[in-house]
């Protein structure tokens, strides 16, 4: 099975983000970067599927040259080769632009299965996978918890709201967006790191045909606010009201 895994390089969680002067993105020149966490689980799932069904895993990433760091990391963990779509703008672009650039680079490969993380830790659109499926002309399913390959078709478990799940049968080729935490990530081994040095990274320049449709007009950190509400009535009524609001408004209880 020929599997593609799309990974994004995002600022590390430990990094304290600061907004740039035009308030359109973070000042990431001094940031530490890491592999987007849901993408790490997508990669792991791809490697496990390859382990069970054979084939190859190709990692695809769009971004500036620093992205090669997460590409090497993915290769060290066991991916066979990589496609790097070189684009300085991709780091802060919208899902439409990133998915378009990825689709262009991936079009000649005819992958059986494309995996992406559910969403990115920085922008969090949860759209790149969905738009990419559309661009590649394959069906997709989102928020995937489990993947089973049965002959030429898939059975996948989706996470719904409120603790519900659903199993979906779908044909191959297909695209899945993977939920975090569905498997146990492997660590980078010394042999993998050594082998990664010899693996092929195909560099593709983004054509620039897909421009972002969205524009960030104001980026800001949420303000910490405190609100106090007084609930009146008898103690029993107040308690009922409190429980109701904790459940419906604060969603602190089920």
């Amino acid at each position: 099975m020929k599997i593609a895994v799309c990974i994004k390089q995002v600022p590390a969680r430990d990094w304290q983000p600061r907004v740039n002067e035009s308030r359109t993105w973070v000042r990431d020149e001094d940031a530490a970067f890491e592999m987007n966490e849901p993408d790490a689980y997508a990669l792991e799932e791809g490697l496990r599927l390859k382990g069970r069904h054979g084939g190859e895993v190709v990692v695809c990433s769009a971004g500036p040259s620093r992205v090669s760091h997460v590409i090497r990391e993915a290769l060290a963990r066991g991916a066979d080769r990589a496609i790097h779509v070189e684009s300085d703008g991709a780091a802060s672009a919208d899902a439409f632009e990133v998915a378009g650039a990825l689709a262009e680079a991936m079009s000649g490969e005819s992958f059986d299965l494309v995996l992406t993380g559910l969403q990115s830790d920085d922008q969090g659109f949860a759209q790149t996978g969905v738009v990419l499926a559309e661009r590649l002309g394959v069906p997709h399913a989102t928020i995937i918890m489990e993947v089973k390959v049965d002959g030429g078709a898939l059975r996948v478990k989706r996470e719904l709201e409120g603790g519900w799940f659903q199993w979906v049968a779908m044909p191959l080729p297909a695209l899945l967006t993977i939920q975090s935490g569905i498997n146990q990530l492997r660590y980078a081994t010394l042999k993998g790191i050594m082998a990664a040095k010899k693996k092929d990274i195909r560099k593709v320049a983004a054509s620039g045909a897909h421009r972002s449709r969205q524009r960030i007009v104001n980026l800001y950190a949420p303000k910490k606010t405190k609100q106090t509400q007084l609930i009146g009535g008898t103690p029993a009524e107040a308690a009922r009201e409190l429980v109701k609001r904790l459940r419906d408004e604060a969603r602190a209880i089920d």
Partner: protein, 620 residues
């Protein structure tokens, strides 16, 4: 003439047997990878004198047995010239035995002979009658060699009385033939240590548990097969004297696990002699044993013949980890180290909260003498942070200046000790760059594992600054601390503080000043029984046999003290876990918390109005 010819034939026969067996083993050493290191000559010579010439390790581990062995050893050395002269005489080369100096030499040997005789009889009785478990099943060969040695001494002593006649000739021949047969038996038996152990002891690293860094340029990945063993490790396999001291002192073996350090060394020997060079090491040993080692270092420290177990166990772990074969719990921990730089995978804001609430300043070489290294436990473990707050109070009261790095990542202790060498080197080089950028000259840490890693394991990277454990510094600066009291406390020496760094005096000194009476548990001081956390076992959920922490907790409880004091975050976690499982009332506290608590209660008890207690006065 005929007798000289017969003796010459015997010498060629038995000497030949010795040489053939010897060269087979030395060839295996020679063909093995790596080099035999002879750096730090003064330290090596000093160890050689102590451990070989004066038999210090042999005697310290087991005084009666050790002394008996020392008598046999010194006797052997003393007899070399005597036996040499007898052979020269027998072969008709030169007869020195008639000279007066030989006569005095022989007379001087008499007390040695009596010592050897007494020693060997004691050792044979111990082996045959008492059969200590560590020695394994009774070996006929050992008894035979015991009888040989005794006979050699008896024939020597008889030689004073039997000067002429057939009895004298039989006595003389018996003496020489036993020497020759013994010689031929040496290389194939544990008595090979007679030949090899002086070299093995000299070649043992002066630093306990030193595991050489892998060279990634040479594509080194650790020990995978028998062919990957390094020269010293092959030498170790042939040197092992099978005394079982490593086994006796191993906390894993003591708690019913399969790991037996002695067995591993002997399994190497067997596999090497069979020539299974392509056998995977993990298959040479019993299943799972490589992951049962806490790296407490007791085996290597107690070995009287210079065997190094830690480079073998950690090297074999590297061979597995490099292939992605680490246990699941460690795999998850590696991910935490890779992504978050700490063993628990927590985000740095947790550390930042502690740094802010404890009022810690960012290190500035102009204003701070010490860099306070928090480590994973200090940054993320709430319980240990209480101990650190106590430490900070004591340091501030004595006007010690210290600051912390804005960001920290794990020293790499667990990566090193579990065989993830790549991760270790990544962490080490990044940390060293941070230290150098911050202008750090002196490091203070409350974690014995960080102490070992920063002070010893960072040296190969050219990083060599003063690293101190907080207990050592506090015992130094608290010279005027004198608190009344006689509270009984059991002290648990952390392996990485007591065995690795040798700090056994400081915690006792500090406890005495704080008004405590130290109750020593079984296995204390520089040969403590491990808490069970080291070497990645902190993350082990299911221990085979009894939990090591439970066994240690029971030993500490048996002192009768109501409080157990220790000075390591990992010992604390393990002992507190054991305390909770046992539902015991014995409390476990960090030494700093204990001392700080004593200072405060003394201050609260009787402060003269308006005056500060003497113990809190800054030292001028």
């Amino acid at each position: 003439m005929l007798s000289a010819l017969v003796l010459a034939l015997l010498v060629v026969l038995f000497g030949g047997l010795f040489v053939v067996q010897l060269s087979r083993r030395l060839l295996l050493v020679g063909r093995a990878k790596g080099t035999l290191r002879t750096d730090h000559v003064p330290a090596r010579v000093s160890r050689f004198l102590r451990e070989v010439v004066f038999q210090s390790e042999v005697i310290a581990g087991k005084p009666a047995v050790g002394l008996a062995h020392a008598l046999v050893f010194w006797g052997f050395v003393a007899f070399v010239g005597y036996s040499g002269c007898q052979f020269l005489k027998g072969l008709g080369v030169v007869d020195l035995t008639g000279t007066s100096s030989f006569h005095y030499y022989a007379l001087a040997l008499a007390p040695f002979a009596l010592g050897v005789l007494g020693g060997i009889i004691f050792l044979v009785i111990r082996r045959v009658v008492f059969r200590p478990e560590a020695l394994g099943p009774l070996s006929g060969e050992s008894v035979l060699i015991g009888v040989f040695i005794a006979t050699l001494m008896i024939t020597f002593l008889l030689d004073f009385r039997l000067t002429e006649g057939p009895a004298a000739a039989v006595n003389w021949w018996l003496h020489l033939i036993i020497i020759l047969v013994f010689l031929a038996l040496i290389p194939g038996s544990k008595h090979f240590h007679l030949v090899l152990s002086p070299a093995t002891v000299f070649l043992k690293s002066p630093v306990l548990g030193e595991v050489r860094n892998l060279d990634f340029e040479k594509e080194e990945v650790g020990l995978e097969t028998l062919a990957d063993l390094e020269k010293k490790q092959v030498l170790d396999a042939f040197t092992c004297v099978e005394c079982g001291r490593c086994q006796m002192n191993c906390p894993a073996y003591a708690t019913g696990k399969r790991l037996n350090p002695k067995k591993m060394i002997l399994q190497n020997e067997d596999a090497l002699l069979i020539g299974r060079m392509d056998a995977k090491l993990v298959e040479v040993y019993d299943p799972g044993v490589l992951w049962q080692c806490t790296t407490c270092g007791a085996c290597e420290q107690q070995c009287p013949v210079g065997v190094e177990h830690l480079p073998l166990i950690l090297g074999a772990r590297r061979g597995l980890v490099s292939n992605g074969e680490a246990p699941d719990a460690l795999g998850a921990m590696y991910n935490h180290l890779e992504r978050r730089g700490n063993i628990w995978g927590l985000t740095s804001d947790v550390r930042q909260k502690f740094v802010t609430s404890a009022g810690l300043e960012t290190f500035d070489p102009e204003r701070h003498e010490y860099l306070m290294w928090l480590g994973c436990a200090g940054s993320y473990e709430a319980d240990f942070q209480k101990a650190l707050r106590s430490l900070f109070e004591i340091l501030r009261a004595r006007q010690v200046t210290f600051g912390v790095l804005a960001k920290e990542r794990c020293t790499g202790d667990l990566a090193k000790r579990t065989g993830n060498e790549y991760l270790f080197q990544e962490l080490a080089t990044a940390n060293i760059a941070d230290f150098q950028a911050a202008g750090v000259k002196k490091i203070l840490t409350a974690c014995p594992h960080c102490l070992k890693t920063l002070s010893e394991d960072y040296k190969p990277f050219g990083f060599d600054v003063e690293v101190q454990h907080s207990v050592v510094l506090v015992s130094k600066i608290a010279g005027d601390l004198r608190l009344p009291g006689a509270e009984a406390v059991a002290l648990h020496d952390p392996c990485y503080l007591a065995r690795y760094a040798g700090h056994t005096k400081e915690p006792r000194d500090l406890l005495a000043r704080a008004g405590a009476v130290v109750k020593e548990p079984e296995r204390s001081g520089d040969n403590p029984f491990c808490c069970g956390a080291g070497g990645g076992l902190l993350f082990e959920e299911h221990e085979e046999g009894t939990r090591i922490s439970q066994r240690r907790f029971e030993q500490l409880q048996a002192t009768g003290a109501g409080t157990i004091v220790t000075a390591c975050p990992f010992c604390s976690i393990m002992l507190k876990g054991a305390q909770a499982s046992a539902n015991a009332i014995t409390q476990v506290v960090d030494l700093m918390t204990f001392v700080d608590g004593r200072i405060k209660s003394a201050a609260a008890a009787a402060p003269p109005p308006g005056a500060r207690p003497a113990s809190l006065q800054p030292v001028p």
